[in-house]
Symmetry: none
DNA sequence: GATGAATGAGCTTTCATTCAT
DNA sequence: AATGAATGAAAGCTCATTCAT
């Protein structure tokens, strides 16, 4: 296995946590280097700029979540069950690897100027979006989901889940995220189902 | 009419647009001053710091949107109709005063460190949240909405609408926001209704 | 009595306290105006600049202390008794009007650049210095003090007293200033006396 | 030899001179950087803030003077002779490294707000104060000095010497400092001696 | 005489990035 | 690959002073 690649992944994970926790602009390159026990100069041997690092991170996250969703999509279960599984995976990630979801919500979605060049549209999160699209289109094909505009469905799904994680992060939710799984997956399924 | 107050509001509106467009950290105080044809020093006579300005802006937006929702809540119409009206108002604002919604999504929700002191929880957006709460609880009381955790409903509503506006902002939506009003308000109502 | 003159004196006293407490550079003109319930603009009607105000203050203090010393110099007592009286007056002022002594030590003596133009040498404290000179020369004439260079005697007197007040201000002295009066006036007299 | 440490010392010496000459607040960081042929940013790699730099300088001076006094304290000579030697060293320093004494008097003693945190009391000048204390207590133990409050003696010593250097700095003294050595050390010894 | 909004130069400090070693 | 000293532009903020009212 490539040693340089391993270091790249290590940098991505450490930077991901710092960016998600302190914000993109409040995290400095020296901060990241120090957290890695690495010199700033050497960090630049792996990523040519702070912006490029930020873009690599979001691709990494999209790849990680896309894989999780791909597994669900390949399961021989109903769309209703898949819906619940997706909510579960999302909340599970929010719990086990909270920085990934935070990065998505608070770095990627929020600092668009950083991602202008190279991550236009959904380019850098396409692996993840593609799986949601597959989930949706298969549900429609099977007659389980209503045939509406994909983006309306996508906005519901991602906006809803993101909103809940955000509320959790703000300590506004009275209960644990897991306890909302049934409510939420029901709400989503009722909204999308062909009835 | 209070001249100083008028200037305050002018500053808020100009800064709101800049922050929403370029991001909080990429917008400098000199940028704002220049856009206002005003000296940097004088800007500080109105707002003691960049952070304080940011907080006043979100309160201003919350007040603006809260008022719009209050009008809807006072209408003698069914909860289903209110649901649609709220979606309409939100998208209308996203169209007429797009920076307000962008500010909410991309400045307020994303740069939590800026709003730490003084805007904990939902303090600075309480006017707005309160109206959503009234909409929801009245719907439940009337037997039109299912009695579930408020935050689950709130997350759905705001996450969904926010997600759609974000997708629009990224030029990902193939249609105009207005054309989604029916789909979306139906989806929301189906998700929340007592059936 | 002149109303404008009364206001001038009020400003001097308030500014004196602020400068002595917070330092010359850390005290702003708005600070002074606010403490006086006065507008900054109007303050400038009384003193054309911050520097000029500072210079007027030191003259005012020199005048005040000079008068106290003049009274002592006119008393029909021995030089030894006068020495003690001067120490007493100095410490009394340090206790009752501490800002005067602090101003002398921490504003006037320390920020020479401020007093460059107009207060060269001892011009602005001449009233005070003159009385010390009279005390010294009369003591020599009477044969009670050793005939040495005046400045050596002056440096002893003022350096010693200033040093003690400084130590008191730093909370380093274990006892009250008054309790040092005997020790100090004895030390000074022993140093200066013809023996 | 440690290159970074050498640079640290170089910065301290240059900043010390500027602060002593122009005053703490009238000396800017760019002033210091320019005098060092160094970038502003790099200066901050050595000292995290202007205040911290000021504190390091006073420690450096205290260390320098403390060493000089330590040598005197270790000499097998009478307290009277030590008294004279201390005055000599002080005036010698005032002549050879005048900025050190000026810094002590005009930066350290005067801008207390700068030294609030970290240099409370005499912490940052303890090396120097300690030697004066040793000189005094040994003199008392030997029966050569009167057993009085240490601070009264300390105030005399430092106030007197400081006052003389100040007068010299103001071009008020008609003679060179060295010519006062006998007068002054006699005055001090007469004041302090057990007689 | 009185007000306080307005100016703008200048301050301290930060930080992405480079480059000699 | 690795280091970290060095750069310098630019940020947020302050404040003495002015001036229209």
């Amino acid at each position: 296995m490539d040693k340089k690649e391993a270091k790249r992944v290590e940098i991505i994970n450490v930077a991901l946590e710092l960016f998600a926790t302190k914000g993109f602009y409040s995290t400095t390159i020296p901060d990241i280097a120090k957290a890695l026990n690495m010199s700033v100069g050497n960090l630049y041997n792996y990523f040519k700029s702070k912006d490029i690092l930020a873009k690599e991170i979001i691709k990494y996250i999209s790849h990680y979540l896309g894989n999780k969703l791909k597994e669900i999509n390949m399961m021989p279960i109903s769309t209703k069950e898949k819906t619940k599984k997706i909510v579960e995976v999302y909340f599970e990630t929010a719990k086990n690897r909270p920085h990934m979801i935070d990065y998505f919500l608070r770095v990627y979605l929020s600092n668009r100027e950083v991602f202008k060049d190279g991550c236009e549209g959904m380019i850098c999160v396409s692996e993840f979006v593609t799986e949601i699209m597959i989930y949706f289109e298969e549900g429609v094909r099977r007659g389980e989901l209503k045939n509406q505009d994909f983006f309306s469905a996508f906005g519901l799904f991602m906006g809803y889940l993101g909103g809940m994680v955000f509320l959790k992060g703000e300590n506004i939710l009275p209960k644990e995220l897991e306890e909302y799984i049934d409510d939420i997956s029901n709400n989503i399924y009722r909204a999308l189902s062909a009835k």
